[in-house]
């Protein structure tokens, strides 16, 4: 018997799919393009040939992948392949194959080609799955039989998208480790144990939260890189049974995680808002009768959080959610850690003995970079160092823009009179984000106090603030 020449391994990764998986999942695949090399060595594989339109693999290749020994019995035209304790008997021109004590009918008969026995590739699905016998899969696009590495196999992912949700399901056998290793929308990366034996779509018709998915080199297992649409706001990776499910959503819940910030610092919408209810603990703030500023601010923050999540679909964080005074620097730490687009420090004013009433917004002054610099030719301007304490002044222009829109709406909604002061307030020290300290009313004013303590008073105020931010969001340049 003449062995077929060994075909050099392809420069690209071999694609294989168990035919059972392929039948179920290939419908999701659209177009397949060239795939990059894995960092790890590709698994061993052998080519298949086409006989009357059906894929066949030679007995030599099969034995090589199985690490088996071949015996040709010319008298009965049978090829016997022994791999460990297992035994395969192939008979020329016969569709039945003996696998140990079982008889399996294949999709076509065993054929002879160029002096070598060939068997339909469907045979690999019938091979026993035992530890001592390598597992093989057929990868239809590269038309090769692949020996599955020890990490297992991942079937072609199934991609289901709707207007607000995209879900990618990976069927793994067995289910190994799966983790997200890159959270940016442009390079959302997932690493999984196992060998991908399936097809990936190169593109997805718009509109789609997942725009592309491709395989990337991975030292172990398989890596995937997805391009996520800008509308997506959250993701979640779950495991259920033998499946790993990646879910991308437009409107994230508490169980979803956010994407990494991307692009240079600059204006963007209000995706992350930090609400800072003023005072707390022993510091009650302004107290008039039974009304204390710390309780009112906390209640307003809760109501405003719901409004902002509903109207802006923003992620809203509170610097405190019960009656406590955060330690110094904690408020700024929270705002900076979540990369807030806006920090709103909520307070209620009080000026005893005066007729003061209404709302006041304090925003950082635009002093950063405002100093005069020498313009002598050939002399470099001195480096201007901004203390971290004053970092909020970097965002002064944007903060003032937000404040003006917000105050206009508050005035229209009967919460006025509204005032704007350009002073860096203490709660914004060290906050690297646009921020405002908003005195949402004046408790020493009987009219303001009655309105805020009245039924729906705080709800109306929260709605007015949310409306102001929503309007700014819509009208921003």
């Amino acid at each position: 018997m003449i062995g077929s020449p060994r075909v050099p391994r392809f420069g690209s990764r071999h694609r294989g799919a168990r035919t059972g998986f392929a039948a179920a999942f290939l419908l999701a695949a659209l177009v397949v393009g060239p795939r990059p090399l894995h960092a790890a060595d590709p698994p061993p594989s052998e080519p298949v040939v086409s006989l009357e339109g059906a894929p066949y693999v030679s007995g030599t290749s099969l034995a090589r992948l199985l690490g088996a020994t071949r015996f040709w019995r010319a008298d009965v035209r049978k090829l016997v392949i022994r791999a460990g304790s297992h035994r395969l008997v192939l008979t020329l021109d016969n569709p039945f194959v003996m696998i140990d004590s079982r008889t399996v009918r294949m999709t076509g008969p065993v054929r002879a080609l160029a002096g070598e026995v060939h068997v339909p590739v469907t045979l690999v699905d019938s091979l026993p799955r035992e530890a001592g016998l390598p597992r093989l899969v057929f990868e239809p696009r590269s038309r090769r039989i692949v020996r599955v590495p020890s990490g297992g196999v991942i079937a072609a992912p199934r991609l289901v998208q709707s207007e607000a949700t995209a879900r990618v399901t990976f069927l793994c056998d067995p289910l190994g480790d799966a983790r997200v290793i890159g959270r940016s929308r442009a390079h959302f990366r997932l690493r999984m144990d196992g060998f991908l034996a399936g097809l990936l779509p190169d593109s997805v018709p718009p509109p789609a939260l997942i725009q592309t998915i491709r395989e990337i080199p991975s030292a172990t297992g398989t890596g995937f890189e997805l391009v996520i649409g800008a509308d997506a706001q959250g993701w979640r990776l779950t495991r259920a049974g033998d499946r790993v499910i990646l879910e991308i959503v437009k409107r994230p819940g508490t169980e979803h995680e956010s994407f990494a910030p991307e692009g240079p610092p600059g204006p963007r919408g209000l995706r992350v808002v930090v609400l800072d209810p003023g005072h707390g603990g022993e510091d009650a703030g302004v107290t008039v009768g039974s009304t204390s500023e710390k309780r009112l601010a906390l209640a307003l923050a809760g109501a405003l959080k719901n409004e902002l999540e509903r109207r802006l679909h923003a992620r809203v964080f509170l610097t405190r959610d019960h009656d406590e005074a955060p330690i110094e620097g904690r408020r700024a730490e929270i705002a900076n850690r979540v990369r807030a687009d806006l920090v709103l420090s909520l307070h209620f004013d009080g000026v005893p003995g005066t007729r003061a009433r209404g709302v006041t917004a304090y925003c950082p002054p635009a002093t950063f970079g405002a100093r005069e610099r020498p313009s002598l030719p050939g002399i470099a301007a001195p480096l201007e160092i901004l203390p971290w304490r004053d970092v909020a002044t970097r965002h002064a222009v944007r903060a003032r823009d937000i404040a003006e829109t917000l105050l206009a709406v508050l005035e229209l909604r009967g919460q006025g009179p509204a005032r704007l002061r350009e002073t860096l307030p203490a709660p914004l020290l060290g906050v690297n984000a646009p921020g405002l300290l908003l005195e949402c009313g004046t408790l020493t004013s009987p009219a303001d106090l009655e309105r805020l303590n009245g039924p729906g008073g705080l709800a109306e105020l929260a709605a007015a603030i949310a409306e102001g931010l929503e309007r700014w969001q819509e009208e921003r340049p």
């Binding site: 703030g285 110094e328 009080g350 000026v351 003995g353 007729r355 860096l424 307030p425 203490a426």
Partner: protein, 180 residues
């Protein structure tokens, strides 16, 4: 010869007596002891005190005659005392009750460091509006009545004061020109 000797002796005696008489006649009487510096020149001086306007959004000033102290400490103390006493006209007192001066120091760059009693912080009541008015009232009054003051640094009870009510930072000197 004898007559000549007597004449010389008499002449010398007269000269000695005349000199003694002239010495005692022209000897200055000792100056009385100088009084304390604080009391020298003490008088009544007109000062400008800043209080909050009744609208609660600005300051109004009120002229008042106070006994002028000779030292910087006395001068600043009297101003703070008058602010703490409150207005006699239309203004509203915004300096917390019991605020008094502990120490004052003016350096050659115009930085006035004012160390106030703990009552300044402990007795403060109000929001950011009251806080801003209290600080502005104090700083504007000091700048208007103490020469060469460009910046004011507020210290409370001998310790740095981060903020009066948690709204406006006081950890740095307040530039008089920054106040509204």
């Amino acid at each position: 010869m004898r007559v000549l000797r007597v004449l010389v002796i008499v002449t010398l005696g007269i000269a000695v007596l005349a000199s003694a008489a002239w010495f005692f006649a022209h000897q200055e009487e000792p100056l009385p002891a100088l009084p304390g510096v604080d009391s020298v020149g003490a008088g009544v001086q007109s000062v400008q005190l800043y209080f909050a306007a009744a609208t609660g959004d600005s300051l109004v000033f009120e002229p008042r005659d106070v006994v002028e102290g000779g030292s910087l400490h006395d001068r600043v103390a009297s101003l703070i005392l008058e602010l703490e006493r409150g207005p006699r006209e239309d203004g509203v007192k915004v300096l917390p009750q019991g605020t008094a001066l502990r120490h004052a120091y003016l350096d050659d760059r115009g930085l006035l460091i004012v160390d106030l009693s703990r009552a300044f912080q402990q007795n403060f009541r109000g929001g950011s509006g009251a806080e801003q008015l209290a600080v502005a009232s104090l700083v504007r009054t000091l700048a208007a009545n103490v020469a060469d003051v460009r910046q004011v640094r507020l210290v409370c009870g001998g310790a740095p004061l981060a903020s009066l009510g948690g709204h406006l930072p006081l950890d740095r000197p307040i530039d008089v020109s920054d106040l509204p």
